[in-house]
Amino acid sequence: MKSAYRVLAYLIALGVVVQAASIAFAFFGLGKWIDDGGTLDKAAMEDQSLEFTGVIGFPIHFLNAYLLALLALILLIVSFFAKVSGGVKWAGFILLVVVVQILLGMFARGLPALGALHGMNALLVLGLALTAATRATRDVSASEKSATSEREMV
């Protein structure tokens, strides 16, 4: 269970990296498309058949957000069983900041300053996920070490 906790925490950290990469890919692609003569208005924004290099970044960003929420939920459930020291606390924080992150993304179109918080909060998700993963790693190696020393004593 400790390993599951660790893997999930690392997956969440990886998910944040995917989020950053996909949205940057999409926006730079959009910029190039506009440079090349494309015009973006609301009708084009709502057009699901819009095609340019990087456009795939948008659906990846949106779908991966749900995946991250799901991973954070599973991490919290695993934490109940995993006996990682402080594991429940860290998993709870992660789920909380992931939910906040989704809400910030949801409301930032109405209040763009929230978009800045969305960017900063992403780093918080990453930091917490790495912290949780490190804790679990330390616990795993500590228990392995004690198991080894027990064997040596025998």
């Binding site: 208005d41 009708a43 084009a44 709502e46 058949s49 819009l50 939920l73 069983f81 989704i102 949801m106």
Partner: protein
């Protein structure tokens, strides 16, 4: 803590976390087939409860004694057709006039489909044949207040037309103006893919414009087109001639339109003529998704051309051999239909409504048919827990549409035209502003009114069609009427 106690606590915590989610998920699942009459809850809008309608909501979909089936709501079958056409729907790869290849849908081998033209009062008869669209098709006459059985909504007013089948639409073209038709089966996919066309109803009397041009604007794979042409689209017009450009926005979001090289007048909105339209200079006009605006331009006598800019990425270039005019940047000011033109008398009293409804759009996380996401809400509830606005024939209905959802919604009421009374509490002062597709921006609220004069079951939904597919759909239900059609089921009806 003993390890057994710890395990029990962990299991309890897991249950506490998952049980509400599982419950919400299970509650959101839709049956394989259902009647729109069973969807959501009856909202009588402060008017008398229409017993037969109230009996429907959430109860059963069977027809009750004394009810009229909407199947009977057709044009007079004894009237001969004046305009007859067969439209053959196909799913295929096709080439736009610009040469761009599109994997989508065609009518009679092309997209957009042919423009149907009728004179006021003529009976239009269109036979729709599904040649090769596996998902089934229908045709909805967007903006025309047709008899209910002709409205073309799969699972509500008919079954979708399966491959090899056909369906004949008949209606009297008694509303002069610019309209369009499109599939209302899997509409979010089929309309985007090209299953639509134009419909123009011209007055029996009156001076037509010298040049009368429907301009169906559509994005195919992100390429903006006018009647299937990309970029600058030339249109011949002589100096001094009057040109009427009938802009139809067939996309899912609003589009600004403006004119370079001339002033213009907005002579009609959503098919209804504007009363005493004044010349417009350096202003854009916003045409919402599904909406129409007719612009009238008098060609400059010096022979120079005029550009009608569609969102900045395609334009009609009107003119002949005179000097070409340069595109101007989009004017940031917009023509406001709330105050444009002059007031005119109405043939009903909007100040004494029999029913008053709220249509408040919001957004929150949850499940729609088992899918998690951030979904739209109507009056605080998510699909399918949406209001069914019940009316009786002859009611004057008032509706307040408010949008707090973080996104714009082009709201489309089928079968009726609504008059805009106010926006954000500011009363309308211009020409009577009749709409069938109303652009409701985030944070805005509109008061509209309509007369319930076209009995049946009518969708009232967002015309950003993916939003409709995500549950931003309600309907107006007339007392004493009933539909036998089902969403889902063996008809495989998926209206959105």
């Amino acid at each position: 803590m003993s390890s057994r106690l710890r395990l029990v606590l962990a299991c309890l915590a897991t249950t506490a976390l998952l049980a509400p989610l599982a419950w919400l998920w299970a509650m959101s699942l839709m049956p394989d087939e259902y009647s729109v009459m069973d969807m959501g809850y009856a909202d009588h809008g402060g008017g008398p409860a229409t017993d037969d309608v109230a009996g429907h909501a959430g109860m059963h979909s069977a027809m009750q004694a004394g009810e009229t089936s909407i199947v009977e709501m057709t044009a007079n079958p004894n009237l001969p057709a004046d305009v007859q056409m067969t439209l053959r729907a196909e799913q295929q790869e096709f080439e736009l006039a610009s040469g761009h290849e599109v994997d989508g849908y065609t009518l009679n081998g092309r997209s957009p489909g042919p423009v149907i033209r009728a004179e006021e009062g003529e009976l239009v008869e269109v036979r729709l044949v599904n040649e090769s669209v596996p998902g089934g098709v229908t045709l909805h006459w967007h903006g025309v207040d047709v008899p209910n059985a002709m409205d073309g909504v799969a699972g509500v007013t008919q079954d979708s037309v399966r491959e090899g089948e056909s369906f004949t639409y008949r209606f009297v073209a008694d509303q002069v103006g610019t309209y369009w038709y499109h599939s209302h089966q899997l509409s979010h996919e089929q309309v985007q893919g090209g299953l639509f066309g134009g419909l123009v109803i011209t007055p029996r009397r009156g001076e037509p414009a010298d040049v009368d041009l429907p301009a169906l604007v559509h994005l195919y794979d992100g390429h903006r087109t006018i009647n299937g042409h990309e970029g600058d689209v030339p249109v011949e017009a002589m100096p001094g001639e009057t040109v009427r450009v009938r802009v139809v926005n067939t996309d899912n979001g609003p589009m600004p339109v403006w004119v370079s090289g001339s002033s213009y007048r907005v002579v009609a909105v959503d098919g209804t003529d504007v009363n005493e339209p004044t010349p417009v200079n350096a202003q854009s006009v916003l045409v919402t998704a599904g909406g129409r605006a007719d612009l009238e331009i008098v060609m400059p006598v010096n022979g120079s051309s005029v550009r009608v800019e569609m969102g900045g990425s395609a334009a009609l270039v009107l003119g002949g051999k005179g000097p070409a005019v340069a595109a101007v940047e989009q004017p940031s000011l917009f023509v406001d239909p709330l105050s444009y033109g002059s007031p005119a008398s109405l043939d009903f009293d909007p100040d004494e409504p029999m029913r008053e409804f709220e249509y408040v759009i919001g957004r929150r996380p949850g499940f729609v048919n088992g899918r998690p996401g951030l979904w739209w809400t109507i009056n605080g509830n998510m699909f399918p827990d949406v209001p069914m606005f019940t009316v009786s024939e002859g009611d004057v209905v008032r509706m307040r549409i408010e949008n707090n959802s973080g996104d714009v919604h082009p709201m489309h009421l089928h079968g009726h035209h609504a008059l805009v009374l106010s926006r954000d509490g500011v009363a309308a002062t211009g020409s009577p502003w009749w709409v069938d597709s109303l652009n409701v921006e985030d944070g805005e609220s509109y008061e509209v009114t309509f007369v319930a004069d076209n009995p049946g079951v009518w969708m009232d939904h967002c015309h950003n069609l993916p939003h409709a597919a995500e549950g931003l759909v309600a309907h107006v239900m007339y007392a004493g009427y009933s539909t036998p059609y089902l969403i889902g089921g063996k008809g495989e009806n998926k209206p959105e």
